[in-house]
């Protein structure tokens, strides 16, 4: 139960405060306060530590706030080239990127499905591409013997090249060459030649002429 005297004292105090407030020029009073000095005396870190930022963030509805932001205007005001990109150490950034992991996440099949190969090929200058290809060098790297032995090309050649007559001719010529060289070896031994004889005329050895 409240004391009647206390109740009376409270009413008097409220009345006095109202009278003072009516008389007091609060703006003038605030103008006389050195806010900077007050702010310097406030331990802001301590204040911030007491604030539950997460609770604060949860209570804020960010979406309406974001809707009010004109991102285009914001981006227009940002000088990305000068102020942002120059500060970024791209090499350091790339060092931190796990490219393999990144590539593992790339669906190459889906990527290729999106590529219009025909359109891509239309943009390729094939003539220029072929000019840069060393076709002779490429052909020299082909092992024709292995190609003929391991592919159906052999069967095609065998069927398209003269048949039995050609086969007999090849065999006869090969045998004749073998006998030539057999006799030549014995003649060279009999003559005891120290230096080997030239095997072919100069132009044929150098590839300047075809036999």
């Amino acid at each position: 139960m409240t004391d009647p005297l206390e109740t009376m004292a409270q009413r008097v105090a409220e009345r006095v405060i109202d009278l003072i407030m009516d008389v007091l020029d609060v703006n003038a009073l605030v103008g006389r306060v050195d806010v900077n000095a007050v702010a310097r005396r406030v331990d802001v870190n301590a204040v911030v530590q007491q604030i539950d930022l997460n609770a604060l963030a949860r209570s804020v509805d960010v979406n309406p706030l974001l809707q009010q932001i004109d991102l285009n205007a914001l981006l227009d005001r940002v000088d990305i080239d000068e102020k942002v990109l120059r500060k970024i150490d791209v090499n350091a950034l790339l060092d931190r990127v796990d490219v393999n992991r990144l590539l593992q996440r790339v669906d190459v099949a889906a990527l290729l499905d999106r590529v219009d190969v025909n359109r891509l090929l239309q943009r390729v200058d094939v003539a220029l591409l072929l000019d840069r290809v060393d076709i002779n060098g490429l052909l020299q790297r082909i092992d024709m013997d292995a190609l003929v032995e391991q592919t159906d090309l052999g069967a095609v050649i065998a069927r398209s090249s003269g048949g039995a007559a050609s086969e007999a001719l090849d065999a006869a010529r090969s045998q004749a060459v073998g006998l030539d060289q057999f006799i030549d070896r014995w003649v060279q031994r009999a003559l005891r030649r120290k230096h080997p004889a030239p095997s072919a005329p100069r132009a044929l050895l150098n590839g300047q002429a075809e036999p």
Binding site: A155, A158, V177, L179, L204
Partner: protein, 187 residues
């Protein structure tokens, strides 16, 4: 020596100086063919004379006229062949050809010159041909005079591919396990 090794040897020999066996076989073929053609021509002339004149002409090989005609025919056969393509029929069969001493193709006149001096190798008791065996460039006497040489000229590379293809073909002929019908080989 295996057939494969033999074919490989032939590939490396392409463009090289042709040896005695190839050249002798080529000449034997040429002599056979040219003599056969000459004999056929004489027989044809006899037949025509019999029809036209009513009596048969007997060709005696020892007759000087026949001998001269035969020599002229041989000169024409060899000379024209060498002048036109650097090879006779026999040389084409054996895959050899006449080139200039430096390996370039011969001029027509050099082909005829070679045919003209060719008998010299015979007339010296066949010693003119000894150069094919002992001369460093396997050149006979008539080659030395005409400034020619004989080289292997057959497409040994293609021959080797054909050879390899024939060896690989039995593998290609085997029917696959999926039951495919093997391709027909019409040789």
């Amino acid at each position: 020596m295996s057939a494969r090794a033999q074919a490989a040897l032939s590939v490396t020999a392409q463009g090289h100086y042709a040896g005695s066996v190839s050249r002798f076989l080529a000449y034997a073929i040429d002599l056979t063919v040219s003599s056969a053609v000459f004999a056929l021509a004489l027989a044809a002339i006899s037949y025509i004379a019999k029809i036209v004149a009513g009596h048969q002409i007997s060709w005696n090989r020892s007759n000087i006229v026949v001998a001269i005609i035969f020599v002229a025919w041989e000169f024409l056969y060899f000379g024209y062949s060498w002048a036109a393509s650097g090879r006779t029929l026999g040389m084409a069969v054996l895959g050899v050809r006449v080139v200039r001493a430096d390996g370039e193709l011969i001029n027509p006149w050099r082909g005829y010159l070679r045919a003209l001096v060719f008998p010299l190798s015979f007339l010296l008791l066949g010693l003119g041909f000894l150069g094919i065996l002992v001369q460093r460039e396997r050149r006979a006497l008539h080659d030395l005079i005409a400034g020619t040489a004989v080289v292997y000229a057959w497409d040994a590379r293609a021959a080797r591919l054909r050879f390899l293809a024939r060896e690989a073909e039995p593998t290609a002929r085997q029917p696959s396990v999926t039951g495919d019908v093997p391709a027909a080989h019409g040789r």
